[in-house]
Each structure stands twice: as structure tokens, then as C-alpha cells.
Amino acid sequence: MDPIRTIHSRTVVMPSSNIDTDQIMPARFLTTTTRDGLGKHLFADWRYDGNGQPNPDFILNRSEAVGCQILVAGRNIGCGSSREHAPWGLYDYGFRAVVSTEIADIFRNNCLKNGLIPVVVDESTHAKLIATPGSLVSIDLEGCVLTLPDQSTVPFVIERFARYCLLNGVDETGYLLSKSAEISAYEARTQL
């Protein structure tokens, strides 16, 4: 995983609340056995019509969405399934951060493990971001600060260890493997 420090990008805004994992990555694309190439299926049922043609009204099919790395979504994005295919698809498409007032638990965890920064902001910041799609926003992971186009700054919270992993491009599996002596001791102690 590549280290991440800052993201400076225009936003894509999807104001609906409760955007669930079945919208982000419909189940029929879950029969893959790799994590690659899921970006083309991202939001497939909103992005393409019944004949597989791009729906011109959907934000990801519009020119202003090209190259955007920050997705601003309505409250409770990522609710539903534990499918990691959802963050894999978002990352593969090019997103590097998801901003909302509330981000579902398992989805947030999965984002953190895949180089996608989940940023939870207050209602008023969120309202500003929703009202100004395409605005230029900075996300500084080291300082945990989001900077709005008017240069006002908003702090956000990321679990410290996950932040350390993102900043340094290390994964948690390696950390867990380094605890194998403690794990063996636990197994011995509890007679497992």
C-alpha cells in the first residue's frame, strides 16, 4: 500500500443518505477472485442503464467528475454488507477519501485497510460541501485537518493506529504477525 499524507482534489458530491454497499458494488460483481478492476463496476446500477450505456445524469459520467479523489456522500454511507469490494471499487476508480457526517462501521474499517480515508465531519461543514459540488478541498492526514475552499479548516478524527498505517504505507497484518509470541501465550493460558 502506498503511503498517504495529503489529498488535494475537487469533490464529487452524492447527497443521498444511506448509500449502501449494494449500490457501491452490486452483488453480481462479487464473484471475482481478485481485487483488481472493480472501478468499472462502481455504482453500476446508477451509472449505467439497462443496456449498459452510461446514464448521462449520474455524476460519475459527467466530465467534472474526472480525476476527483474525494467523494462527499450523505449520512451513513457504506451501510450494509462487509464486502471489501466496495472500497476496492472506490479506490480503483480513483477515490482516496470518503467524507460524510456518518460512515458505517465495517465499511469504514475496510476503507482504512485500502488507502481510502474515511472523514467524518460535522453537519455544517457537510452542508457546505454538499452545496458546492466540485469545490477544491484538501485533506491532511498527518494533521487530521480538512481545508475548505474558503481556507477554513475542520479537524477530523482517525483512529491513531490506522492513521499510522496509512501514513507509512504499512499493513496491519504485519503488526499482528509481530504479536505471535503473545498470541501463543494466550493460547497456552486459555488452553486453546
Partner: protein, 468 residues
């Protein structure tokens, strides 16, 4: 010692390394359930790092999500129609063989939906930590086990280390009092709880379902309630173990046997929350005022009593968008709404008691013309038991399809699909847009509401078909 909740006792007993400000806790996982969809990339990760599965004796595998429920495809008489699913199933078989994980393969008599077979085989037990790459792992909490869904990266972590990095969640007590009225089931109760909490209301919490109503539920019913905890955003739901739990587990193949069972029960009796334990949050539900529930929208929180009208919510874009997708109008009744599909199945409601309850309504009647009624037992064992009681004949004689076990029409990835624009009364757990197929319109309800609706060809109140 300070009073502790059931959750806190489970958490404390599994901390390998306690959490600090800088690092999450290292939490030991007693049981890891795996399936074909969320594990391939985890096994690839192990292979890339040249790592074995640390505890094959604590890892179990089944095939359910992309597995066909058509008999000929399942038993190899004809090829599996979805090629990507066939490839995924084959890769899972290879992975399990290579890493030494016990797989209940396609034709195994104990195969079934992962959250149905864990309890059925007695793998699920009070006091355990249980994970699976599936959000409905919360089901196993019905036994007083800390059980939650994880992503594929975490599946890899557990395969490699039998542990997970976790921050301690908060606790939420859902206190339910009052007897469930006639025709009101555990499914209706949990839909009412989700409506009360909202689909994000449980985020960051582990729920403990408490109160006399919960104590009176069977294990099957407790599993239905815990199963849908994630639909309120809570990763885990718990019910304290009691005599109902012990009676269910006694004699199950993987449960402790003989004297070991008695010792286990003595330990399980120490697990319930202490009388003066404190929860971070509490809500109270009066079960006695509920009626059969049904969803009208595109998340499980959008539900109404079956005799109610679709609510009006002015200036609510989400509500308007959901109704447009569902082809429904605010103020209309759902009862009487024509349906083209009825699905009885899923990890929420495909246990023997669900099939029996539905069969009691269906018996001697016919499925309405134009309705496709799919009945999918939760496991091969349940299918076998149901057939021994003649339930298959009841459904088949009525005109329903009787299938092999699997996730089936709960999610459109195994060939069982609701067609675009069609309505489906479904006993599953999610009514998200497109979940049951592109453009499918899902109405979540109980098995008896589903059965009554299949006969009527319309959304139907099950109470009219029940004898008191």
C-alpha cells in the same frame, strides 16, 4: 470487581493485548467461518506472504453465497450456469484443500448458509468470539457469543494470526417487554427495533437484546433478531445465554459432550450481564403494541405495520427517491399490493421453524397464479428434516419451488433473481435497491406474511389465515 455487561466479559476474556491510545486491542478469535465470496483475496494474501492458516481447527468453510440452489447444478448433473460463480466455488475448494481448512463442499449433507450451520452444528457457543466475512455474522450473538462481520483483509488477518485488531465498541441495551401479539413474529419485532433505532442508529455499538420478550423467544427467533442487528448499523447483537440456549446446544455434534457439556454450562452461566452493569445507551420497546411489519422503502428502517399506509414525508429526498424506486405512493396501503415473487429463505428466516410456520399457512392451498414462490431451506440438514415432515410436499403441491440450501434470492449473485420492476415479499434482511436483482422491489416481512402473500398474490396480513 466492577459490574460488567455480557459484552465486556466476552471482550475481556479475549484480549491478547489490551488496547492503548496508540494501538487497538489484539482480540483472539475462537471461531472463523469462511465462504467462497469474501475469502479468495485473503487466501491470495497468505500465499503471497508464504503464511499458513494458523488454526485450521478453528476455521470452517461452507459454500452458500454464489452457490446455485438448483439441484441439477448443485450436484453436477449440469454445469453451474454462472461461470464466474463456478470459478469462485472451484477456487474456494482449491484454497481449502491447499490450506487444510475443513470445507462442507457442494454435495455435503451439512452444507448450508454459514450463519445457519454454525449454530446447527454446535460450532456456535456462548462465550466465543466468532467472525466471518459477512455482515450477518451478528446472528451468532443469539447464543451469547461476540460475533461480527469483517472485511476480506481481516479474513486474511484471522487466517494468519487467529486475531484481529479492534477498538472496543460501546454498549446499547435494547429492552423489550410485553408479549408478542397474535401473528407477530421475531422478524416483525426486529423490523420494529430497526425502525426505532434507524439504519445508522446502532453504529459503533454492540447491542444486547434484553427483557422478558427476548427471554421467551426460541433460539431460532433470537437468531432472527440478532441477524438484523447490522441493519441498524450495530456490528454485533447479543442475547444472554440461558436454559433455552443450553437445551438447543445439548447433543449438537460440535458442542461439548457429557461431563464437558456440564462444565461448559457452568461457565456459560457466568456470562450474563451483572445486575448492576451499565450500558452506554438504552432503548425500550413495547412488543405488545406491534403488528406484523413490512418494509415499503429501500432500507430496512423504512417499515410499517401491515395495516398502515405508506408514510408521507414532505421535503425528504431520500423518502421520495425510495418511493419512486419502489413504484409506491405516499398514503397508499401496502396490503393488497400485487406481487410477482415471494422468497422464503436467507440467514434471517430459513430455519425449520420458519418453514413450518409458512407451511402451516400454505397447506391445502395454491400459490396465486403469476406468483413465483421460492422456498429455500437454510441448510441441507434443514431441507432433509423438512422433507421428513412432508413440508416439501406442502410447498410443491401449492405450486412453490423447493430448492437446495443457499443464500439464493437474498442477493443477486447465484442465478436466483427477481426480475426488473417486480415486487417480491422476501423473508431476507435487506431491501436495498437492486439487492435481489437489478430493479427488483423488495418488501421485507416474516415467513407467515410471505406465505399469506404468496397465496393471495398480494401483500397480505397473515393473521387472516391463522387460527388462534
Amino acid at each position: 470487581m466492577t459490574a460488567r455487561t455480557l459484552f465486556e466479559k466476552l471482550w475481556d476474556a479475549h484480549e491478547v493485548v489490551a488496547e492503548t491510545a496508540d494501538t487497538p486491542a489484539v482480540l483472539y478469535i475462537d471461531l472463523h467461518l469462511t465462504h467462497e465470496v469474501t475469502s479468495p483475496q485473503a487466501f491470495s494474501n497468505l500465499r503471497a506472504r508464504k503464511l499458513p492458516v494458523r488454526r485450521t481447527d478453528r476455521t470452517f468453510a461452507t459454500l452458500d453465497h454464489s452457490t446455485p440452489t438448483d439441484t441439477d447444478q448443485l450436484f453436477g448433473k449440469i454445469p453451474i450456469r454462472m461461470q464466474s460463480a463456478a470459478k469462485q466455488i472451484h477456487e474456494f475448494e482449491k484454497n481449502c484443500a491447499e490450506f487444510g481448512v475443513e470445507l462442507l463442499g457442494l454435495t455435503h449433507k451439512q452444507r448450508g448458509i454459514v450463519h445457519i450451520i454454525g449454530p446447527e452444528l454446535g460450532l456456535t457457543q456462548p462465550g466465543k468470539t466468532i467472525v466471518c466475512g459477512d455482515s450477518h455474522t451478528s446472528t451468532h450473538g443469539a447464543f451469547g457469543a461476540l460475533a461480527f462481520g469483517i472485511g476480506t483483509t481481516e479474513v486474511g488477518d484471522v487466517l494468519a494470526t487467529q486475531c484481529l485488531l479492534q477498538r472496543k465498541p460501546k454498549t446499547l441495551a435494547v429492552n423489550v417487554e410485553g408479549a408478542l401479539p397474535f401473528g407477530v413474529t421475531a422478524k416483525d419485532l426486529v423490523l420494529a427495533i430497526i425502525r426505532e433505532l434507524g439504519v445508522g442508529g446502532g453504529t459503533g455499538y454492540v447491542i444486547e437484546y434484553r427483557g422478558s420478550t427476548i427471554r421467551a423467544l426460541s433460539m431460532d427467533e433470537r437468531m432472527t433478531v440478532c441477524n438484523m442487528s447490522i441493519e441498524a448499523g450495530a456490528r454485533a447483537g447479543l442475547v444472554a445465554p440461558d436454559e433455552t440456549t443450553y437445551a438447543y446446544l445439548n447433543g449438537k455434534p460440535h458442542a461439548p459432550q457429557g461431563a464437558a457439556f456440564d462444565r461448559a454450562v457452568a461457565h456459560w452461566k457466568t456470562l450474563p450481564s451483572d445486575a448492576d452493569a451499565r450500558f452506554d445507551r438504552q432503548i425500550d420497546i413495547d412488543a405488545s403494541t406491534l403488528e406484523p411489519m413490512i418494509t415499503y422503502g429501500t432500507n430496512p428502517g423504512m417499515s410499517i405495520g401491515i395495516s398502515a399506509k405508506v408514510p408521507t414525508q414532505a421535503n425528504d429526498e431520500v423518502h421520495a427517491k425510495a418511493l419512486a424506486y419502489m413504484g409506491l405512493t405516499a398514503g397508499q396501503a401496502l396490503q393488497g399490493q400485487p406481487v410477482e415473487f415471494v422468497f422464503l429463505g436467507s440467514c434471517t428466516n430459513a430455519r425449520l421453524s420458519d418453514l413450518r410456520a409458512a407451511a402451516a399457512i400454505v397447506k391445502g392451498h395454491k400459490v396465486a397464479p403469476g406468483v413465483r414462490f421460492l422456498v429455500v431451506p437454510g441448510s441441507q440438514q434443514i431441507k432433509h428434516l423438512a422433507e421428513a415432515e412432508g413440508l416439501d410436499r406442502v410447498f410443491i403441491d401449492a405450486g412453490a419451488e423447493w430448492r437446495e440450501s443457499g443464500c439464493s434470492m437474498c442477493l443477486g449473485m447465484n442465478g436466483d433473481l427477481v426480475s426488473r420492476g417486480s415486487y417480491c415479499v422476501s423473508t431476507s434482511n435487506r431491501n436495498f435497491e437492486g439487492r435481489q436483482g437489478v430493479g427488483a422491489r423488495t418488501l421485507l416481512a416474516s415467513p407467515i406474511t410471505a406465505a399469506a402473500s404468496a397465496l393471495a398474490g398480494r401483500v397480505s396480513d397473515p393473521r387472516s389465515r391463522l387460527t388462534a
